[in-house]
Structures are given as C-alpha cells and as structure tokens.
C-alpha cells in the first residue's frame, strides 16, 4: 500500500508543517467507512492514501464453506445499494458452470429488475453526490423516486435492500400480479421527474463550477487503472458488458451507451443521468416483450458444478462486477474471487485528487460512486 509520508518540517512562508488530515472512517461524505489520509498544504491535497478494510466480512472465505445455492444472499451484501445486480452475477456464473437453460421469462424479468436496480443505485448516487456538493434538496427528491422502485422490490422479493432476488436457474417466484402495472407507472413517470432534478443541477452555475474540470482522468489512464462502469465511460470509452458480452435478455434490447468526453466529474454526472434514461428505455422494451412461461429451470437436488475455473461478468451500476469460481466437483466452491468495481474504481482516487482542494476530494469520492461493502467484502 502506498504510504503517506508525514513531513514534520517544511519551509513555507510561515514555516508551517504540512497537515495530515484523517478523513474518516467516520465522516459524513466518505460513503461508509472509508478512511482517506490526506496530506494537505493549506487546503490543497499533496498526497492521499485510502485505508480500507473497516467493513471486511470475509465473504470470499465464507463462500468456500457454503453450498452454491447458499452463497447468493451473501452476494447481496457486497454492494448493498445494488443487491439485485450483485445477486445476478453469482447465479449467472453458477448457471453457466452447470450449463443450465434459464427460461426466457426469467431472463426478461431479470433484465427489468436489474435495470430498476440500476436506476435506484444511480438515484442514490445522485442524492449523495449532490449532498456532498451541498445541494440538499436533490437528496430527498431522488430518494422519493428510489422509494417507488424499492416498493416494487418489496412486493416482488419481500425485502427492500438486500433482496436475495434470484435463485440458481431462474427466480424464486413469478412476478406478482400488479407487477406490469407498477413498473409501467414508474416508467411513465420517471423521465418527467428526472428532468425536474436536472433543472436544479445541470445548468446550475455553482454545480458547473464545482464539477467541470474536477477529477479529470484520461481514457488511457482509466483503462490502465481498470476503471469500469460510468467512471470509464465518462472518460470516453464505450465499454459496457451489456453490449459487449450480453447476458440476461440484454441481447434483445436496443439502447445507447452514453459516453463522456473530458473525463471530469461533470461528464460522469451526465453519463449517469443518461444511463438512467437508457435503463428506462430497456425496461420499457423488456416489459413490452415480456414472454410467458415458467421462470425456473429444472435443477438437480444439489448443485454440483463440474471441475474447472469459471469467470463471468455483468454490468453492475457501479461498473463491471466479475465472479471467478474454482470448482472442485463438490457442492462447495474451492475458491471464490469477486472483481469488485468499487474497489478498482477507488484506485483512481489518488490520481484524480492530487492538486485539488479538500472540497474536491469529497466531490471526487462522490463521483466514483463507491460502496464500502463491495470494497472490503
């Protein structure tokens, strides 16, 4: 780990030493228990280091002692904001290991619900990002909207946050009776509301001056660090697993990938807003073409994938979440490894922050959209 050097003497105008500021783990805007050690000259960041691990629960190790079907709920706790997407990566990986044919209706429902989850996650990002930069009202507006999605989740899965949405081979049960009506209502209302939120921020002079040119990262650097998701697309790379390696029903959907230009905070903001609109488009299409039929594949009593290594990725709201499983032919995985998008996106923080002010650090943490549950696992 890169260590922050603590200088005790420095010849500046007032002969004051550089200040080392501990941001977190209990800080209102580090989005959980992230500890950032900042080395400051006045308010300018000279150097910073992230100290993580405050939320470590040893999930990958726990997974080695659980059966394949039992691990799925743990995956909800990775990125608890987007539990539905995270659950999907586990069940899809296991399904691919087993070669299970998942019925199309399940694929479509998965598409609808993960896209709803993407909107919910982006709304929470918008809320907290705006709050970090000082616009408090957007927080409550965005949460109001997210509430609609969580209501749908609650009716469908029985839980709002960590839903345990999927089962290996399909879904626990079919969509509830009013599912189409509820989702349709949300899809119809959402664009109008989103435009409303945008009026508060997008053209706002203060918002512009806080985000334009802040935390710039070039496409080359972004690829070198391994950024994914909106953080990568904000820098101008059109990389989206939904397009490049379609899973669930994304192959049948028609949607655009929003791509930024300058790789600054404002571009990432626009990219995420546009992604919400595109998600809505996907939901619209999937709901239109929702096939009938069963939602579950036939499953053996005990899931025992054949020996081998498997890797599968999906596009979670935060970026590309991957799951690498080494199976030894028993009912338990021999080793599991997650490629967490937040963890890898966080690596860009140092490069993005140096030379900026303390206030920008907060904005940049917000724009990376990290979740500590996923970073520490």
């Amino acid at each position: 780990m890169h260590q922050v050097e603590i200088a005790t003497t420095q010849e500046t105008l007032l002969d004051s030493p550089e200040m080392v500021l501990n941001m977190g783990p209990q800080h209102p805007s580090t989005h959980g228990v992230l500890r950032v050690v900042l080395r400051l000259d006045g308010e300018t960041v000279i150097d910073l280091d992230c100290d993580i691990g405050y939320l470590h629960r040893g999930m990958e190790k726990i997974a080695e002692n659980r059966m394949y079907t039992q691990i799925a709920p743990y995956w909800d706790r990775l990125d608890y904001i987007a539990a539905v997407s995270n659950g999907l990566v586990w069940v899809e990986t296991v399904e691919q290991m087993m070669g299970l044919p998942v019925p199309p209706r399940a694929h479509y429902l998965r598409t609808i619900l993960t896209e709803l989850n993407r909107i919910a996650s982006h709304l929470l990002w918008l809320a907290t990002h705006a709050l970090d930069i000082g616009a408090v009202t957007v927080l409550l507006w965005a949460l109001r909207e997210r509430e609609e999605i969580l209501k749908i989740f609650e009716r469908q899965f029985g839980a709002r946050l960590t839903c345990h949405a999927w089962r290996v081979g399909g879904m626990p049960n079919d969509a509830y009776d009013d599912f189409n009506k509820d989702v349709r209502q949300f899809v119809n209302n959402f664009p109008k509301r989103l435009d409303e939120y945008e009026t508060v921020l997008s053209e706002n002079r203060i918002w512009l001056s806080r985000t334009v040119g802040i935390g710039v990262i070039s496409a080359e650097d972004a690829i070198a660090i391994g950024l994914s998701g909106p953080a990568l697309r904000g820098s101008g790379v059109a990389w989206d697993i939904r397009k490049s390696r379609p899973y669930a029903a994304y192959g049948d959907m028609d949607f655009d990938i929003p791509v930024g230009e300058n790789g600054d905070t404002y571009d990432r903001y626009l990219v995420r807003l546009e992604e919400m609109r595109q998600s809505r488009r996907i939901i619209d299409q999937a709901l239109e073409n929702l096939p009938d039929g069963p939602v579950n594949a036939k499953l053996p009593k005990i899931v025992k994938p054949p020996v081998g290594d498997y890797y599968h990725t999906i596009e979670a709201p935060k970026g590309e979440i991957g799951c690498y499983i080494v199976a030894d032919g028993t009912a338990h995985p021999w080793r599991v490894r997650v490629r967490p998008p937040s963890f890898i996106n966080l690596q860009a923080l140092r490069q993005m922050c140096i030379g900026h002010l303390v206030a920008d650090v907060v904005a940049i943490i917000g724009t990376l959209d990290i979740v500590l549950g996923e970073i520490d696992r």
Partner: protein, 435 residues
Amino acid sequence: MLLFAPIDVLNDLLLRMGLGEETIRYFVWPLIQIGLVVTLVALWVAYATYLERKISAFMQARLGPMRVGPWGLLQPIADGLKLLTKEDFIPEKADRWIFFFAPYIAVASAFIVFSVIPFGPDWAVIADVNIGLLLVLAVSSVGVLALILAGWSSNSKYALLGGLRSSAQMVSYEVAMGLSLIGALMFARTLSLSGIIAAQGSDSIWYVLYQPAGFLIFLISGIAENNRAPFDLPEAESELVAGFHTEYSGMRWSLFFMAEYAAMVVVAAVATTVYLGGWYFPFVYRLETSGHHNLFVLVSVLVFLVKASLILYFYFWLRWTLPRFRYDQLMDIGWKWLIPSALINIVISAFAIFLVQALNGFQGMQTIEFIDRGLNLTASGKAIMIVMGIAGLFATASLLARINWRSRDFNLKVQRRDIKLVNLPKGKPAVQPGS
C-alpha cells in the same frame, strides 16, 4: 388606548418610588426595552429555525416537524430544552478557557447589534445612535473572532480548517458589504439607522429602487458574512464535518447556532432598514395623524418584521436550492466580482446624484425638492435616479463581464456540452479510445 394604559401607570409608579425622570427615561425604560428585544429576538431566532425546517420540508416534499405541539409549533422549545440538558463537553486537549468563551463572543456580537436596529419609530428602538450603521458593521465583525477562537481552541483539524475558512471569508466579504452601503448613504446623508428610514420616508421611496446593485451586493455579501449556503464553507457539513463547531456540544453548540441565526436576522434587518424603507410603509402614518400613536408604532414594527422575514425567507430559499461553492471560488466572487462591483456602484451613484443636481434648474426642470437629512427628489428626479440605478446594474455587469471574460468560472456555460450516445452493435468488442 387601553392597551398602553399600564405603561403610564408604570411610569407614574416609578416616579412615585422616587426615581428621577432622567433615570427612568435613560435607565429604566432602556432596560425594559433591552429585555423585550432580547427575548423577542431570541424567540424570533428560535422560530426562524422552525420556519427553516418547515420551508425546507415543503421544498423537499415532506412535512417537517409535526410531533411537538400542533404542526410541530413547540419544536424549537423542545430542541432548546434538549440542548440545555445535554452534557457540556470540553475536549481534553482543547484550550479550555477560549473554548469556553468563544460561543459567548459569538452570541454577544450578534445580539449587541439589536441595540441600534430600529424596529419601529419612537419607543421601538433602544438607542438611536448617530453612527448606527457603523456600529452594526463594527460589532458584527467581532463575530468572526468567535469563529476563529472556537476553531483554534478545539484542537481539531476540521475545526481549525473551518475557523481559517471563516476568517478569510468574513474578512473579505465585510469589505464588499461596507462598500455596498455607501451608495445608499449618499442618498440618506446620515449613518443613523432611524435617520436612514426617515430619509426614505420623507422622500417616499425605498432605496432599493435607487440602488438595485447596492442591494444585491449587500444581500450576497451578507449571506456570505453569515456563513449561510451557498457560502456555508466554514461549517460545510460534507467536507469539514461541522467546521469550527465540530467539537462543541449541548448548549455551547446551540449558542453558535443562535448566533448564526441572530446574525442572519441582523443582516435582514439592516437590509430592510437601508434598502426597503425599514418600518416605513405607505399610509401607515395616517394612524399617527389620527392620534393613535402607540398603534402606529406597533403596526410599524409589524411592517418591519414582515419585510425582514421576507429577506430571511430568501435566505432559506437559497440554502435549500443551491449547491455549495468551493473555497477558492468563494474568494474569487468576493474579490473579483463583489468588491469591484461595489466600487463601480459608488461611482455610478455619485454620478447619478451629480446628474440630478446638474439637471435641477436646467431648462426649467426641477429634480430636487429640498435637501434636508436626506435627498428629496421630485417625480422627475426620482425617475432619473431609478433609471440610473437600473442602468448602473447593467453597466456594472457588463464592465465586470468585460474584465472577467477570460476567467474559467465565467465561461462555464459555454463549456457545458452534451454527452455522446453510442449505439454499438450487440456482442462486439467495445470501441478503443482514439479509434
């Protein structure tokens, strides 16, 4: 009037107790006034927090405090009680005495100002000092000391950063604030706050019409001076946890809170006095001429409170709408925009007064009625002044735009661009950058 009968009775009683008329007039009544003003202002401050919570709640599609009393009306009192009973915690490494006294400085500097604020005519003002405005600026600038001391003595890095920010911010915005008032003073020709209101009354005008630029500059720098959003950097929640009062708790914390709101009320009151005609309102004087003196004073006080509350509402409105500036951007606005525009405003106001004086008697035109304590203009003079005021607004804006045309913040709207939408064919590898 029956309502004010007890006052005369009390006066008689005091006289009979052997106190001299002078003592009663200069000592006893001022004490009663001070007691009243402090109580009422404290109440006003408490209910300003309630209003802020309610207004923000309505903006955010929720209800706000609803549980304590009807519509949560007793919430501020419950909050006060809760804070009083909380532990008064002083960190071990803090500079004890400074930490102890800093909140008192904050509250005192905010409340002393109310001694010269004219809430109404006659008995509704504690002391009509002839340098009232100067006193307001001087005393309210002592408030910055409290923030620095609190930030320094807490021995916490967040508090220190908050204290440093607040000192830089308040010092730079005080300049703009003082300069912006000069334009209005040229019309009023007095520093006495009651005098300024009297001048507006006799000229039958609100100086906001003569001085739109000055009013705007005063309001903006007033908000910055109060450390309110979008300039609330010293206590920027999301960056500095709670800024200079991070380490404070209980009643000592609430004193800072009270000081902040009291300072807001002060700025609102000064803005009302100087630019919105204070307690002066058309046709209210008829109460006085028909012999209801005390009623006239009461209605005037009400008018003043309504005007000041409107400005307070403006504060709340901004706070819950706008994001926060960054520290360096804040300094830019202060030094690159507000201070130059305040200086330009002074020049334009002086020129306008010169113009009006020069036009007086030019080709039989009459612009000045008479010059007494303030400038009293005829209708045509007023028209010239208002036109000059609005023209000055545009002149200032265009001049500053010319000066700052290359600055980054000025060109942000031009830089705003839309994002590309890429519709890739399905299942193909993604586009590499540059290709």
